[in-house]
């Protein structure tokens, strides 16, 4: 627990002194890349256990580290989605911060309103003007890329200081695995089933981070919870910029992606290692890949772990590989040097752990 604070009097919140103290010193693990991410995570948990997320759901990992960075002075706006239905079952909640549920489509507008209200209260002296209050939207891919898109776009355009965190599980997983705007090519969902002629979903993933960057907002990043150091660094950056920020976080979904629960982190690691998911940030127009991959694995390593891609024929896998090659080439061209390397077939798909 931090010293005192609003939650000091609440008995159930404090889980005793046995909470883990840890120092995330990323610079030790990734030499030459993470000098800037050298800060400690607090030991207090603000995303508490007792929630109803599926076993091994990485929303838990994202939300825990998100609130560790943002601290107790945070307002979370949660549009409808997996995180909302499973963490807040009336009359219980597992968020240790102020939290509001809004409709599917208006996460951005409610966040704008709350940010404006805090500004007004600071001007009147109700809230200490020096106090930093983070307004965070924690929305899924449906609430961001499809239904909540216009509210999000308006929020960016008006320039409210809101941190928008989008956890992307590539589908409407809570309602029974329907396809969404961010479902990748070839994934089988209940509304895009794989058949004899159609290989599941036929459209490509919506590049939400690029769309957000096109609004000209100060900070846009993509993150992967398998690389916690990178993710918490981006949360910290987003908290410190003046203006709207957008973070697109990939999240593995056990029932939707259909892999064994224990592979939840492994499959996310493979997403970055194959070049399917590139961790980058765009800070005031400056594009930087924060997690370079010197040699890529073939994309089949990522696909073969998941049941939603099991129907794919070899030529369709090659097509997905070709699309990834094209995207990687584009990223290397923008950066100006080779940050994501070529495919190395000699790399093993799954490195066996002891």
């Amino acid at each position: 627990m931090s010293s005192g604070g609003r939650f000091a009097k609440i008995p159930v919140y404090i889980r005793g002194n046995y909470l883990v103290k840890t120092a995330i010193k990323a610079a030790e693990e990734y030499q030459g890349q993470y000098e800037y991410a050298n800060f400690e995570l607090p030991d207090e948990e603000l995303f508490l256990p007792g929630h109803g997320l599926c076993a091994s759901c990485t929303i838990g990992v994202i939300a825990r580290h998100m609130l560790k960075v943002f601290g107790p002075d945070t307002v979370v706006i949660n549009p409808t989605g997996c995180a909302e239905v499973s963490t807040v079952v009336y009359p219980r909640t597992n968020w240790g911060v102020p939290w509001i549920h809004v409709a599917f489509g208006n996460g951005g507008s409610v966040a704008s309103g709350i940010e404006a209200a805090i500004k007004a209260l600071k001007r009147r002296g109700v809230i200490d003007p020096g106090r930093r209050i983070n307004v965070v939207v924690f929305a899924g891919d449906g609430g961001t890329a499809d239904i909540g898109f216009q509210a999000l776009s308006g929020m960016f355009e008006r320039g409210h200081k809101v941190i928008y965190v989008m956890y992307d599980n590539e589908g409407y997983m809570n309602t029974g695995i329907q396809r969404s705007g961010t479902t990748p090519f070839g994934a089988s969902a209940t509304t895009s089933p794989a058949g004899k002629k159609v290989p599941g979903n036929v459209t490509h993933k919506k590049p939400m981070a690029a769309i957000a960057a096109a609004h000209g907002i100060p900070y846009v990043a993509t993150a992967n919870p398998a690389y916690v150091h990178d993710m918490v660094y981006k949360f910290k950056k987003a908290m410190e910029v003046d203006g709207p920020s957008f973070i697109h976080v990939l999240q593995s979904c056990t029932p939707g992606w259909r892999f064994e629960p224990k592979y939840a982190i492994r499959v996310l690691e493979l997403a970055t290692e194959t070049g399917y998911w590139v961790n980058y940030e765009i800070e005031r127009g400056e594009f930087r890949v924060t997690l370079p991959v010197p040699r890529r694995k073939h994309v089949k390593c990522f696909l073969q772990l998941q049941g939603r891609f099991r129907h794919l024929k070899p030529e369709e896998v090659e097509y997905i590989q070709k699309v990834i090659d094209r995207d990687v080439e584009e990223i290397n061209r923008v950066v100006g040097r080779e940050v994501i390397g070529p495919v190395d077939p000699s790399l093993p798909c799954l490195t066996e752990r002891k």
Binding site: F7, I10, V12, Y13, R15, Y18, L19, V20, K21, T22, I24, E45, F47, L48, P49, G50, H51, G52, L53, C54, A55, S56, C57, T58, I59, G60, V61, R64, H65, C82, V85, S86, T87, V88, V89, Y90, P91, R92, T93, N94, W95, G96, V97, W99, N174, T175, G176, P225, A226, V228, T254, P255, P261, K262, Y263, A264, I265, R266, R353, K354
Partner: protein
């Protein structure tokens, strides 16, 4: 003849599939059957209740079962929270439990002496034959054994129509359960006695101590207390629990980083040195009250210190 059954389990164990298989098999045998599941959020681990009614004549009402003849429990850790269902079984009825515990122990846990108790290690049988911890096939076999219907051949046909794959493996599990299920007869049955309670419809998909909040008590804007979810012990979801070998642990805290449930904690442990001195050292431990048994910690552990041990 009318048999009303309630199947209790958690999402992902195949409860709904099990009722469909038994219903289909009963239809093949010439019965009328009605299977209607009842669940809340569509996710793994959420408690699921499925009703199955089998009758010789057409079934006209589609209401939930209030006082069942048979209760099938997929997970013996659900017994405490789903006790209302066991209390509602008619005297002389059957309670089929998937458990690895001994009959005496189970009898004490169930706490009723006027029902047939049917015990089998369905998860063990399913792991042996199918390779997955889905106890639906074995429990269908146990149901067939105690009720005398549906026939095993009909269950096999139902597997073909309902699953369409791994029919032989599932049928082998069903057959083994049919042969090995242990039936404990009741001590005495008073036919005239009534069951202790009924299954109320409000308890559909909630487990544990919970309160029904009437509309006058709902707070303004539905505001609730922060962190009140700590009353939900999600530890009942797991099939396997993580166990750590402290001699291999290097305290990298990767398990803590990747745990979605804050169930990995740091604790003080007293150890004895070579000369008898007692040291206090910090070790990684697990909060079994909330651990859902997803095995992510065992997968990310770089030294293999964390192992998963089967619990039920």
């Amino acid at each position: 003849m009318r048999v009303e059954t309630v199947w209790l389990g958690r999402g992902g164990q195949g409860i709904v599939t099990a009722t469909y298989i038994v219903a289909n098999a009963a239809v093949i045998d010439g019965f009328y059957a009605l299977a209607n599941p009842e669940f809340g959020a569509e996710r793994r681990g959420a408690p699921v209740k499925a009703f199955l009614t089998i009758d010789k004549s057409p079934i006209e009402d589609q209401e939930p079962v209030k006082t069942p003849d048979v209760v099938v429990i997929f997970d013996d850790k659900l017994i405490d929270t789903m006790r209302f269902a066991i209390d509602a079984v008619k005297p002389g009825g059957h309670v089929i439990v998937n458990t690895a515990k001994s009959p005496e122990e189970m009898k004490k846990i169930i706490g009723r002496n006027d029902v047939y108790l049917v015990l089998l290690d369905a998860v063990g049988i399913a792991l042996k034959h199918v390779g997955l911890p889905v106890p639906n096939g074995p429990l269908a076999g146990a149901f067939s054994k105690v009720m005398g219907f549906p026939r095993l051949e009909s269950i096999k046909t139902a597997f073909e129509t309902q699953l369409g794959k791994a029919v032989e493996e599932n049928f082998a599990a069903t057959k083994e359960a049919y042969e090995t299920a242990l039936v404990v007869p009741p001590e005495r049955v008073e036919q005239a006695a009534k069951p202790k309670g009924v299954i109320s419809t409000t308890s559909a998909f909630l487990t544990g101590p919970y309160e029904i909040v009437g509309w006058p008590e709902v707070s303004k804007a539905g505001a609730v207390f922060p962190g009140s979810s700590l009353f939900y012990a999600t530890g009942g979801w797991r099939l396997e629990k993580p166990v750590i070998d402290h001699s291999k642990c290097i305290m990298c805290r990767k398990c803590w980083m990747y745990c979605p449930d804050d169930a990995v904690v740091e604790a003080w442990k007293e150890v004895q040195g070579p000369r008898g001195r007692v040291f206090r050292m910090k070790v990684i431990d697990f909060d079994y009250q909330y651990c859902k048994g997803c095995a992510v910690c065992a997968d990310v552990c770089p030294t293999g210190a964390i192992k998963m041990v089967r619990e039920i």
